[in-house]
């Protein structure tokens, strides 16, 4: 059977979620693999959220927030950026491909960019194939 990646996208309420919404209201077509989770700010996305997404079977995780300087809580996206780099180093050590986790800034007007991001990310993950994490953890007694 053809592999259809499951992707979890954490979107900040003020920019990225609105951007994704715009892609919808403008009736743009993009890959249906993404499940969006709306959070108030990208600074709310704790490392646990990302790890849990992978543990529960996500093949890729997308994290989106407002562009630098635009966060509605001032510093949230910088916090997110630093967590992201730490997580990247950590998941690599654990044997998860770094490409499976991606951070992008999407503004409220960037519906098109969001659709393109989803398409390109879906393609990357499809090429990588399924993430083994969930299965490996379940097999551990």
């Amino acid at each position: 059977m053809e592999f259809r990646p499951q992707i979890i996208a954490f979107l900040c309420n003020w920019c990225s979620y609105t951007g994704a919404d715009l892609a919808g209201t403008q009736r743009m077509k993009y890959q249906p693999n993404v499940r969006a989770i709306r959070v108030m700010c990208s600074g709310r996305i704790e490392p646990t959220f990302v790890l849990r997404a992978f543990i529960r079977g996500a093949d890729g995780v997308l994290v989106c927030g407002c562009h630098p300087g635009d966060c509605h809580y001032q510093e949230g996206n910088y916090r997110c950026l630093r967590r992201y780099h730490l997580l990247q180093k950590y998941i690599q050590q654990m044997g998860i491909e770094q490409e499976r986790l991606k951070l992008e800034w999407i503004s409220a007007s960037e519906g098109k960019q969001f659709a393109e991001l989803v398409n390109s990310f879906t393609e990357t993950i499809t090429e990588l194939g399924p993430c083994r994490l969930k299965q490996v953890m379940e097999e551990l007694t």
């Binding site: 490392p47 646990t48 630093r82 967590r83 780099h85 730490l86 654990m94 044997g95 490996v136 551990l140």
Partner: protein, 323 residues
């Protein structure tokens, strides 16, 4: 009538452990008399000659309290864990290895094959041209020899059997053990099953006496030997990674008093599932940069983040082994 309380039956066992936990039990020093007055030690491989068979012959629930230290790494550890569960009324995961996987749990960064290759082929002091590896069974003329099966994964005790309480620490503070023990002896109200006992519930930082300012932002991570520690300022503020923000209090911050940063042996606080994820959050909030390249460079200075953040808790973390 002079009613004498029957003595408690106490057992101590080590799985994959360094022996430090057993020493921490011995460290009760003269309090040992109080312990012996209240309890009979029925099984303790490090100190007594009770055989496994003697334990097998005990009736179920015979032992009142078992302190199980060490992780479960091989079939022998697993067998005894299950046996002691059956024979004990209260089973305590004693020490970091039993509680979270501990230092032996870092073996989950490797597979069994990698470990065997390193130990029996590549290590500097090994000469083994025939590449002989341990076999769980070996036939000799006299019969079959058996040794325990080495598992691919290290597990904390509660991944193998039902655990009543957790007493954290590497090793636990002996004073805490005595308190817990005395609570059981005097029949004090015991906490609900599954509780962490002999420790606090807050984070280490809240008890730490080092000076903290509001402005802890750092440009560079350093290893402890790279700083002139003033003995006063919070380690994090000096750029040294300290597991304090993600670690349960209760140890009396012994390491910090000894001018070493917290390494996290007491495990996560009550409201945290994953120590490493928590410390990643804490560290992200003190890095003084907004530029991706600079952030990456700063993080580059953290040698072995996974090993540092999950030093004691890898087998009980969300991601319990390297893929």
């Amino acid at each position: 009538m002079n009613e004498q309380k029957p003595k408690l039956k106490l057992a101590v066992y080590w799985g994959a452990a360094c022996g430090g936990c057993c020493v921490s039990v011995l460290d009760v020093h003269e309090k040992l008399f109080d312990v012996v007055a209240a309890a009979d030690l029925v099984f303790w491989p490090v100190a007594l000659d009770t055989k496994y068979q003697d334990v097998e012959e005990m009736h179920d629930g015979f032992i009142d309290l078992t302190l199980f230290n060490g992780a479960v790494r091989n079939s022998e550890n697993e067998h005894i864990a299950k046996l002691l569960r059956k024979k004990s009324k209260i089973l305590v995961a004693y020490g970091s290895c039993s509680h979270l996987g501990g230092i032996p749990g870092m073996a989950n960064f490797f597979t069994k094959e990698e470990i065997f290759r390193r130990v029996y082929e590549e290590s500097e002091s090994t000469i083994n041209p025939e590449k002989i590896k341990p076999q769980p069974e070996y036939k000799v003329t006299e019969g079959t020899l058996e040794i325990p099966v080495f598992y691919n994964d290290v597990r904390p005790l509660d991944k193998v059997v039902d655990v009543d309480y957790y007493l954290p620490g590497c090793p636990p503070q002996t004073e805490r053990l005595v308190e817990v023990f005395m609570a059981i002896v005097t029949g004090a109200q015991l906490p609900p099953k599954g509780s962490v006992v002999g420790a606090g519930s807050k984070a280490q930082c809240e008890e730490c006496t080092r000076t903290k300012t509001d402005n802890k932002l750092i440009k560079k991570f350093k290893r402890p030997w790279e700083i002139y520690d003033d003995g006063v300022t919070c380690f994090m503020e000096q750029g040294v990674i300290c597991m304090g923000p993600a670690t349960r209090s209760g140890c009396g911050h012994r390491c910090i008093k000894g001018n070493a940063p917290c390494r996290g042996c007491y495990g996560p606080t009550a409201d945290v599932t994953d120590t490493g994820a928590k410390i990643m959050s804490a560290i992200a909030s003190i890095i003084d940069s907004k530029e991706p390249a600079e952030i990456e460079a700063i993080i580059e200075d953290i040698v072995d983040p996974a090993g540092t953040f999950y030093r004691f808790s890898l087998p009980s973390a969300m991601i319990r082994r390297r893929l």
